[in-house]
């Protein structure tokens, strides 16, 4: 973990609502794993004030390139989208735990489910799995075909696309697709999910009903990003944690059975 000023190597739209920003990674900050995130200070002034968290969408140790994929949602992402390649950004990272620590032996296959801003980390995870010969299926959900981000998935990654309006792939959400799977298909699988809360909750319920493990990356507003402020708390079931866990350090990836779903 380190704070550093990174050079922006490329910055382009990858769908009609997604941008990918690639930047030079400082090796002294240590390697990056899928599921981890960084925080970016988008403005040198006092508004927007807080650093914003973004999950990594790729990282290549050899070339020293890291990237995030993001959606414009408000003032910080609006400002971020104006930063040109060749310019710089203020990064702290890598932060949080990673998906991979949960991808232990015993699973024959992974469903990697993404919706909304979850595309980036899921693409990163999918390529990571492919490089390690771990079988996985990426299930991407978005509103319509034009929103589908062009993220470079390795050829061996199987991808299923779901659109709300049916303009591409399956007509429905990733949950529609999961519901069609037979026990033969999902046997020995685990689910990793990143996206809007209803999608995460849906994946959790789907997996629970089938006795499968599900791991989710949760989103919560963050102030410090390093575990100091207790601002990013999420509700968890274990009493030992006093009912709350910090998304930034104990997460953002949790076993879905640990989350208190409401």
């Amino acid at each position: 973990m380190k704070q550093f000023i990174a050079k922006i190597l490329s910055h382009a739209s990858v769908s009609d609502c997604f941008f990918e920003l690639a930047f030079a990674w400082d090796a002294a900050a240590g390697p990056v794993l899928p599921g981890q995130f960084c925080t970016i200070r988008v403005s040198p002034y006092s508004a927007p004030l807080l650093r914003r968290p973004f999950a990594f969408s790729r990282y290549d140790e050899k070339t020293g390139v890291a990237a995030i994929a993001y959606k414009k949602r408000g003032p910080a992402t609006e400002l971020l989208s104006c930063k040109p390649a060749g310019g710089t950004i203020n990064i702290i990272g890598p932060l949080g735990n990673d998906f991979f620590r949960f991808a232990t032996a015993g699973y024959a296959h992974f469903y990697l489910v993404a919706g909304g801003t979850g595309f980036g980390p899921v693409a990163f995870l999918a390529n990571h799995c492919a490089q390690r010969n771990l079988a996985c299926t990426v299930v991407l959900g978005c509103r319509t075909r034009s929103q589908l981000p062009r993220l470079n998935l390795l050829p061996s990654v199987k991808a299923v696309v779901c659109t709300d309006d049916g303009s591409e792939g399956i007509h429905g959400t990733p949950l529609t697709y999961l519901a069609t799977l037979s026990p033969m298909q999902y046997a020995s699988s685990a689910v990793f999910s990143c996206g809007p809360a209803p999608l995460l909750a849906g994946c959790h319920e789907w997996a629970l009903a089938r006795g499968l493990s599900c791991f989710v990356s949760v989103e919560q507003v963050m102030a410090c990003g390093v575990g100091a402020c207790m601002g990013c708390a999420v509700r968890v079931t274990d009493a030992g944690a006093n009912g709350f866990a910090r998304a930034c350090t104990e997460g953002p990836v949790f076993d879905s059975r640990r989350i208190l779903w409401t």
Partner: protein, 301 residues
């Protein structure tokens, strides 16, 4: 040039500390900051029993600030001593433990437990948290209670006692004087201001408790005015905080009458703020031929 700060017979190595609740127990920021540049670490509030904290969400950004409703989430004094202090003790900076409670008795019992624990420089008495139903700010808005509480804690320790003041009062000077009467060695001002953000779409407040505490650049002028007023009302040192994000902000507080400052919300934005502020203060004092922090107080009568 001497940048050390004398408080209650002890000395802080330099005038720039990190504010309670924004730096955890130190370890969280270890990879990002040089603790040798920090004058004092004011810990997250410590209470008698562990507290889970308030319902979520707990943070909302506001124009040049943020409102928090953390609610004194902490591990409790016993686990603080066994789990956090061993690491805190190794830090090169002074460790000031922020104490909170729901009753005078709770403050006293927390302090007594901490007295048995080596490595604590002093105590900051939090009578100003706006995010709890009992105790906290309820103490800090009543001069009689502040004086009684301070006097009671005074009897139990020789370590410096700093009373942290709330700006959510009619006249902050009366509270500061009460702390001084009770035997406080210093006061810190200010804690957060009560604030609310309403989600217009949902037609309800964003934070489940309704209100929270406003901090950050937005409150700096309030903190500077409070420091100016308090430092003229008491003879003990005043520690200024609220919205400091750079050396010029800190110098405003020092010129207004503060003997030391704390950095809070700015740590979230740039964890190296403390080092930057300290370097800027040193440079300013050199340029202006100021020999010590006290010497800065002569400019504004």
């Amino acid at each position: 040039m001497d940048l050390s700060v004398a408080i209650g017979g002890k000395k802080l190595p330099n005038p720039v500390g990190v504010a309670s609740g924004t730096f955890g127990y130190g370890g969280e920021y270890e990879q990002l900051v040089d603790f040798a540049a920090i004058g004092a670490l004011y810990t997250k509030a410590v209470t008698l029993m562990p507290r889970p904290g308030n319902d979520i969400p707990r943070i909302v950004e506001t124009p040049s600030g943020l409102i928090n409703s953390i609610g004194l989430a902490n591990v409790g004094v016993d686990r603080f001593i066994s789990e956090k202090m061993p690491h805190c003790r190794e830090l090169p900076c002074a460790v000031v433990v922020n104490i909170a409670g729901s009753s005078a008795d709770e403050y006293a019992r927390v302090l007594e437990k901490l007295e048995t624990c080596p490595g604590i420089w002093g105590y900051e008495i939090n009578v100003s948290c706006p995010n709890v139903k009992h105790g906290g700010m309820a103490f800090g808005t009543d001069p009689a209670q502040v004086e009684r509480l301070t006097a009671d804690l005074r009897k139990r320790t020789k370590n410096p006692i700093i009373v942290k003041l709330t700006p959510n009062v009619t006249d902050i000077r009366t509270i500061a004087k009460a702390a001084q009467e009770g035997g406080a060695d210093a006061v810190s001002c200010i804690n957060t201001l009560v604030g609310m953000v309403i989600d217009v779409g949902a037609k309800k407040p964003v934070l489940p408790m309704g209100t929270g505490g406003l901090s950050g650049p937005a409150i700096r002028p309030v903190g500077v005015a409070a420091t100016y007023a308090v430092s003229r009302a008491v003879s003990i040192p005043v520690i200024g905080l609220g919205g400091i994000s750079g050396p010029l902000d800190a110098l405003q507080y020092l010129l207004a009458g503060a003997s030391a400052v704390q950095i809070g919300t700015a740590n979230f934005v740039d964890p190296t703020t403390t080092a930057r502020v300290l370097a800027g203060i040193r440079e300013f004092c050199e340029r202006e031929n100021v020999s010590c922090i006290k010497d800065l107080h002569r400019f504004i009568p």
